[in-house]
């Protein structure tokens, strides 16, 4: 529709340019040319009459009518001549040619040009050496020059009309011109909507448009082929992706298993110490029971058996007699038995003390085992429920967790949430706190290793860099030696005793950080100069308004 409207517009411009402009130009020229033509005709008329008068003087003066007719006949050849006449000095017409003219005033003395409407007329006196002989007059028609202008106007009008007709016909034909283009537009729209199997029809008579249609069809075919290839490739990619995912899952599972295995090994190692103690103590207790308690119990059973036998035979007198009998050393048996019973009681008292100590030791060691196992469980626990949380709040929570430990070690904790305290991240709160707490504990231990109880300072600084929240944990502790840096995030690496850690901390912390879509790395360190760890996380969306208010 737009194309046809444009064609119509161009056509109308063409009508204006080719049709109306010549018409207007014709009218303009007519208004300018006619006066010029009139003026020219006037001069011609005047010159003709003056020439006639100049030639007629001899004829009139001599009274030769033949000469007069001859002069007039010469004038008759002019196509514009309407009428010419010669009068004598009395005003009588003595010769005339043409159709006559009305309204002409003839003067015997002056030359004049008169406009008679359809003709221009001139009259001039005929003199001979100052003597008036008569007058000559002639009228020339304007018809020829008028018809010239009229023909010009007719031509301009014909051009205008022809242009108009041509435009109307062209507009009619434009439907045939535009139709294939519309077909192609509809075709391309169907292509755009995915109809790659569509084809546009074209007849050979449509020339270049048919060629264009053929090209479009070829293009659609190529697209269709390519689309099919892409779909095939996409299916293959999806299959590959599925395989890759499965492999990844497998790898993850293996890694997890390996990690679990590592952790189990480490846990077993850590548990082994207390369990060794427990085992030793239990062994000691078993030996005691077998080696020391058994004879005492035998003695006790012997005494009680002798007493019960004497009492069963003769009652209390028999028991008294039995006890009064002399023993191996000559003393009464009762003395010997009482000594033995005192010895057993003393042994049992000692044994009770020892068993109490042993049980306390066992309880303590088993507590240690529970603590170690519980610590492992807490390190590996993952809720996996990320929520939007403000970084500054999470950091404060982390600081509270280590506040007691820091105070015991006289370490100052400093939190700088600058310049964007309202920044939010999408994390599991527990895991985030675990990561930061891990870094803080490492920092506290590094300070303790360097300065003992002299204390130090740990700084947590957070800020937004590009689209990421950067949390830097900086300490002025012992730093990390160069040879340890490559091993820092290995699950099994630690420089500390089993009492202080398992070596899994940084490894797990990095894994959690990557789980948030972020990264944990050592930013800077030098032996004895402290270390800075950088935790980077993507910002979760835009900062809410209340965050700004809070910051202010």
């Amino acid at each position: 529709v737009t194309l046809r409207r444009r064609l119509l517009t161009y056509s109308l411009i063409q009508v204006f340019a080719l049709g109306l402009l010549p018409l207007a130009a014709g009218l303009f020229v007519r208004s300018r040319v006619l006066p010029i033509l009139d003026e020219h005709l006037g001069r011609k008329t005047e010159a003709a009459v003056l020439s006639l008068a100049g030639r007629l003087d001899v004829a009139l003066a001599s009274g030769e009518p033949e000469l007069v007719r001859s002069a007039l006949t010469e004038l008759a050849g002019d196509p514009d001549l309407l009428h010419a006449e010669v009068r004598d000095r009395g005003g009588q017409v003595i010769a005339t040619i043409g159709s006559g003219m009305g309204g002409l005033t003839v003067s015997q003395h002056t030359t004049s040009v008169q406009d008679l409407g359809d003709a221009l007329a001139a009259t001039a006196p005929i003199m001979m050496e100052g003597y008036p002989l008569g007058s000559a007059a002639a009228a020339f028609s304007k018809a020829r020059q008028r018809s010239l202008v009229t023909w010009m106007m007719v031509l301009a009008a014909a051009v205008a009309l022809a242009t108009l007709i041509a435009v109307v016909i062209a507009f009619r034909f434009s439907r045939a011109f535009v139709a294939p283009i519309h077909r192609m537009i509809q075709f391309s729209q169907r292509l755009k909507e995915g109809g790659l199997s569509e084809r546009v029809a074209a007849s050979a008579g449509e020339g270049e448009l048919a060629m264009l249609a053929a090209d479009l069809n070829a293009m659609a075919e190529a697209l269709e082929t390519r689309d099919a290839a892409l779909a095939q490739r996409s299916r293959e990619l999806e299959e590959s992706l599925a395989k890759l995912r499965a492999a990844q899952e497998e790898l993850l599972r293996s890694t997890r298993l390996a990690s679990v295995g590592e952790m189990a090994g480490r846990t077993a190692h850590e548990v082994l110490n207390p369990m060794t103690g427990i085992n030793g103590r239990l062994t000691k207790m078993v030996h005691y029971e077998i080696d020391a308690m058994e004879p005492n119990l035998d003695t006790l059973r012997e005494i009680v058996g002798a007493w019960r036998g004497a009492y069963r035979e003769d009652g209390i007198e028999g028991l008294g007699r039995s006890l009064a009998q002399p023993g191996a050393d000559g003393r009464p048996l009762v003395g010997e038995d009482l000594d033995n019973l005192e010895g057993i009681a003393a042994y049992l008292a000692d044994s009770h003390r020892e068993r109490t100590t042993d049980l306390q030791f066992l309880l303590k060691e088993s507590d240690r085992v529970v603590h170690i196992v519980d610590g492992m469980r807490s390190l590996t626990r993952s809720t996996g429920t990320p929520v939007r949380a403000r970084v500054d709040e999470l950091l404060r929570e982390s600081l509270e967790t280590v506040a007691d430990s820091a105070a015991q070690r006289r370490v100052a904790l400093e939190l700088r949430v600058d310049p964007d305290p309202g920044a939010e991240v999408q994390v599991d709160r527990y895991e985030f706190v675990q990561v930061v707490t891990n870094l803080l504990r490492n920092a506290l231990l590094a300070i303790e290793e360097k300065s003992g109880r002299a204390g130090g300072r740990v700084t947590i600084a957070s800020g937004v860099e590009d689209d990421r929240v950067a949390v830097r944990v900086r300490d002025n502790g012992c730093g990390i030696r160069d040879e340890h840096i490559p091993l820092l995030f290995d699950a099994s690496f630690t420089t500390r005793s089993s009492r202080d850690g398992t070596g899994l901390g940084l490894s797990i912390a990095r894994r959690l950080a990557r789980g948030f879509g972020g990264e944990l790395r050592l930013e800077q360190t030098a032996a004895g100069q402290g270390a800075t760890f950088l935790l980077e996380l993507p910002v979760a969306g835009t900062r809410p308004m209340e965050g700004i208010a809070h910051a202010q």
Binding site: D57, V58, A61, S62, G63, E64, E66, L67, S70, A71, E74, M128, E129, G130, Y131, L133
Partner: protein
Amino acid sequence: MRSLLASLCLLAASAAAHADGPAPAPPSSIMIVVAANSPVDNLTVEDVRRIFTSGSLELRPLNLPPGTPERVGLDLALLRRGPDEVARYWIERKIRGQSGPPRVIPSGRLVVKIVARVPGAIGYVAEGPLPPDVKAVRVGGLPPGHPRYPFRVQRTP
């Protein structure tokens, strides 16, 4: 018209030749002609020169075409110049803004007719018979044909 004038000239020439007769005779006189009723009867040569060069209030001089024997003879008598010099003379007068030569009449016959019809017209023709309404003027008291008459036709070679 030209052919008519040419035939008139031929007629005049043959008439003049016929007037001269077969025997050699002195060139014929140039008559100064006026209307018969004109008061002018006698003119001096100087009068004629003034009339035909500067014009006159009362008289209207008529000339003959250059090269005609009458014109050559009169110019020789009045201006003492041949035909070419006479042509230059008139050109120079025109350049100076003075009046030109008198109106040229194609033939002596027409001159005679005009002199008869136009009041004050004065012309010249070769000596010959004149109609009754035209007369020849005496020059210096001498009639044409007199041996001392000053104006004679001059035939160019």
